[in-house]
């Protein structure tokens, strides 16, 4: 008995069918191309089995861009539905699925891999390491993320997407309110990729603490590396809470437990607490690395060291600690009591202090510098006003009694998009443009990049500023339609136009990448931006082993000091008689296969197919045992090969 009209059904069914067809066609095309050009071996040897942090970083980046596209399409569909009152483009069920996957994908399968891409691409190079602490585990992290993401993405075509919101609050997400496999997909996809995230956190924490080049004290570390350290600490302490929240909800759904059900003594509040104990630190997990990138970019393109380095480090650490004391601000309105609300309100506002300090330090890094408006810098500068406003509305939201009016309204939506897009996405794009030549050895076309920048930026404000107004008009999030006569039409329509402009910006970005692959300027110097940190002392792309000889670091921004003649530039170039064989990890296909078993396990649990779970469990156990008995995991690159590579790059001394 459901009187809600499903006007959209005739539109949405062909959409799913269309997606099915598209997926099949694209898969066939990929298989065909790989076969025709005999690339299967190449794919396996160079990518699926790689443990090289640089390649893993590139795979993370590709995955993040794909997910940005998927999440972006979700956003455009939602904005189309909301452009005018009483639209019938999507029905309620479909709209609910789309906003759920939009949020889930953007946070967990776009922002997370994007920051991990930057971790992988930059951190080992910045600290003078040849790889991360555990390259094999790093590959497992990537494939766990990737197959987790795949699991969520196939939900759309096999069985139905989750539709209880990306926060998945019980009891709505419990059986009885969310039957069907959608919610299971969500729980398993997040759990599987969450294992990968925790492993990445451990990996980079140890890498940064233990694998820095001699002379690179903590106090000489680039700020991006500092930000990764802070983010790793957050990951390690936050993600286990998510794992528990998801596992318990899965037990409720799969085995009939009563953690968060209404019946038999379950307590839905418990999920909400666990979820946000992870969820709030999570936003700092994705914003801190962006802060690190802005520090690098602003300093490089202002030709000036970052202002107030000590304050910047202190602020990062302060945010990562206070970030754990704010989670209740996501539910001030759930009756936590005046004393609890006051504590969490003030703790939330306190975070604004170190964040504000960082903004001033960035401004004064530019002050009395020489500002070059290259693409990374444009995104970094665009970040400041965007994040200043987003941060200000964040402080407003922290005022607990006022939050009673903002909560769940479009004011909130505008706020968190402003900090997550203006912060994380702008940051990751700045990082992508900044390190692109280091990854691929060529520069991205500047002109197309500017088109992308302006469309995306103007589109952003056109899209989200009207949403603040909508919040004050009483429009709540997650409604799939609204009546006319409330004054919501004009801001919604403007907002939709903004979303389309952002979409055009993304198209320009894709065009820019494709165009530059063909015509992009080669980076022969290895240092196209006149950089400051160690990665720019290497050729682009860096050789497999990164550093032929590990340089000894004698100052902050050592490469810049060397270029200024304050340190010896020869320290950064390998000398023939100092070369030694280089110890490197061997490639392995097992991370990929292990993660495939996890994927099978996830699929089996989603649909409750026990034999599938048993087989996958055996597969996982077998992979782990095989690894434990494997002693031949690494090799040495002979000196001759290093000499050959380095002299071909024209870097060999003596």
């Amino acid at each position: 008995m459901n009187p809600i009209p499903h006007w959209g059904i005739f539109i949405t069914e062909p959409m799913i069918l269309g997606s099915d067809v598209m997926i099949v066609l694209v898969s066939v095309a990929i298989v065909f191309a790989l076969t025709k050009f005999r690339k299967w071996g190449w794919l396996w040897r160079e990518w699926l089995t790689t443990v090289d942090h640089k390649k893993i970083g590139i795979m993370y980046l590709i995955a993040a861009l794909l997910m940005l596209f998927r999440g972006g399409v979700d956003a455009e569909l939602m904005r189309t539905q909301l452009a005018l009152p009483n639209m019938t483009f999507l029905d309620a069920e479909h709209y609910d699925e789309i906003f759920t996957t939009h949020g889930t994908i953007m946070i967990l399968f776009m922002a997370m891999p994007f920051i991990f891409a930057m971790f992988n691409i930059a951190v080992p190079l910045q600290i003078g390491a040849r790889d991360v602490a555990y390259p094999y585990l790093n590959a497992i992290s990537f494939w766990m993320f990737f197959l987790g993401a795949l699991l969520l993405n196939i939900s759309f075509v096999i069985g139905g997407s989750p539709d209880a919101g990306w926060t998945s609050y019980p009891p709505l997400s419990e059986l009885g309110f969310s039957n069907g496999p959608g919610e299971n997909y969500y729980l398993l996809a997040l759990s599987i990729s969450g294992i990968g995230s925790i492993a990445t956190g451990i990996n980079f924490l140890v890498t940064i603490l233990k694998m820095r080049a001699p002379g690179m004290t903590l106090w000489r570390m680039p700020l991006f590396t500092w930000s990764v350290l802070a983010a790793c600490i957050l990951i390690l302490f936050a993600f286990p809470a998510l794992t528990v929240a998801l596992a318990l909800l899965l037990l409720d759904r799969a085995l009939g437990a009563h953690f968060f059900t209404i019946l038999h003594g379950g307590d839905p509040m418990m999920f909400i607490n666990l979820f946000w104990i992870w969820g709030h630190p999570e936003v700092y997990i994705v914003i801190l690395p962006a802060f690190g990138i802005f520090s690098e970019v602003i300093s490089t393109f202002s030709k000036k060291a970052t202002f107030g380095y000590g304050s910047m480090v202190f602020a990062l650490m302060a945010i990562s600690i206070v970030g754990f004391l704010t989670w209740v601000h996501h539910f001030f309105t759930m009756g936590s009591g005046a004393d609890v609300n006051t504590f969490f309100a003030i703790a939330t506002m306190v975070i604004a202090i170190p964040t504000g300090v960082k903004v001033f330090n960035w401004l004064f890094t530019m002050y009395r510098g020489r500002i070059r408006m290259s693409l990374p810098m444009m995104w970094a500068i665009a970040f400041i006003p965007c994040f200043a406003i987003g941060g200000a509305t964040g402080v407003m939201l922290a005022v607990a009694p006022a939050d009673y009016q903002y909560h769940n309204s479009y004011f909130l939506i505008a706020h968190f998009h402003q900090v997550l897009i203006g912060g994380t996405v702008f940051g990751m794009l700045a990082g992508m443009y900044y390190w692109w030549p280091k990854m691929f050895g060529f520069l991205l076309n500047e002109r197309l990049g500017r088109w992308a920048f302006w469309f995306f930026n103007i589109g952003f404000y056109v899209c989200f500023l009207p949403q603040y107004a909508l919040g004050f008009m009483g429009m709540t999030r997650r409604i799939y339609t609204y009546p006319s006569g409330l004054g919501w039409t004009v801001p919604n329509f403007i907002s939709t136009i903004g979303a389309y402009l952002m979409g055009i910006g993304f198209v320009f970005m894709v065009w820019q990448i494709i165009y530059s692959i063909k015509y992009g300027e080669r980076d022969l110097t290895g240092d196209p931006w006149d950089g400051r940190t160690l990665e720019w002392s290497l050729p682009s792309p860096a050789p497999h082993y990164n550093f032929a000889t590990i340089p000894t670091i004698q100052g902050r921004d050592a490469w810049w000091l060397a270029k200024q003649g304050e340190l010896s530039k020869a320290d950064f170039l390998p000398a023939k008689d100092e070369l030694k064989p280089i110890h490197m990890p061997k490639n392995s296909g097992r991370p990929f296969i292990l993660s495939l078993w996890f994927f099978v396990l996830g699929l089996g649990l989603t649909f409750g197919v026990v034999p599938m779970d048993v087989i996958a469990g055996i597969g996982i156990a077998y992979c782990l045992f095989r690894r434990s008995f494997e002693y031949d995991t690494d090799y040495y690159i002979p000196v001759d090969e290093v000499i050959h590579t380095e002299s071909a790059l024209g870097r060999l001394q003596g």
Partner: protein, 216 residues
């Protein structure tokens, strides 16, 4: 493996050639890789501790939510959980003895103590399974109430950890027999023992919060 000939210091124990970076350190720390992995495992244990903290928090919130069903006081069998506690504490001690003998380079004794540890672990898991089955037969199942969901999940997660530890330790025993004590196997013995001690610490809390507070 021909390239290893370039490596400066070598240790010809067990499988292949093992490059020793720090010959003066305890055997498990002698390779760079070993030192890194031990540190990484400490960090992993920190995350696992948080996982257990969350489960403990859930249990504490839900322990009174019995829904008219059985309470801890009615369910917990004091001799049984006291026995489990003694067995697990003893196994932690025998695991420690294995590490001790490893530093004295006595392979057979290491293997022996690890086998004792595994056997103790197995009897612990056996007792726990027996306890669970007993409770389920009395109608106290995971589905009965929020309290029981939280109980089975918390204690069961610990039990799964112990079971995994048993499998893992068995694998390492086989490797010790095959390859003897070398920096790699020593690192594995050391790490699995870290894990085992950690589970012991968690059990101390379980014993207190779940069982003692349950029967009081």
């Amino acid at each position: 493996m021909t390239t290893t000939a370039h490596a400066p210091a070598e240790n010809h124990h067990g499988a292949g050639h093992i490059h020793v970076d720090y010959p003066d350190r305890p055997v498990e720390y002698q390779t760079e890789d070993g030192a890194l992995k031990i540190l990484g495992f400490w960090v992993f244990l920190a995350t696992d501790l948080i996982l257990f903290s969350c489960l403990f928090a859930t249990f504490i919130v839900l322990r009174s939510h019995v829904d008219g069903g059985p309470t801890g006081k009615e369910l917990f069998d004091i001799p049984s959980f006291v026995a489990e506690t003694f067995i697990l504490l003893t196994s932690s001690f025998t695991g420690g003895l294995a590490t001790f003998e490893m530093h004295r380079d006595k392979r057979n004794r290491v293997v022996g103590w690890l086998i004792v540890t595994v056997l103790l672990g197995l009897s612990f898991v056996g007792l726990e399974v027996k306890e669970f089955v007993h409770m389920a037969m009395d109608g106290a199942t995971l589905q009965r109430s929020a309290f029981l969901s939280a109980f089975f999940t918390l204690v069961g997660t610990h039990g799964c950890h112990v079971s995994l530890g048993i499998l893992w330790m068995t694998g390492i025993i086989i490797q010790l027999v095959r390859f003897g004590i070398n920096p790699i196997t020593a690192r594995k013995v050391f790490i699995v023992n870290m894990y085992w001690h950690f589970l012991d610490v968690v059990w101390v809390f379980l014993f207190t919060v779940v069982y003692l507070m349950g029967v009081m």
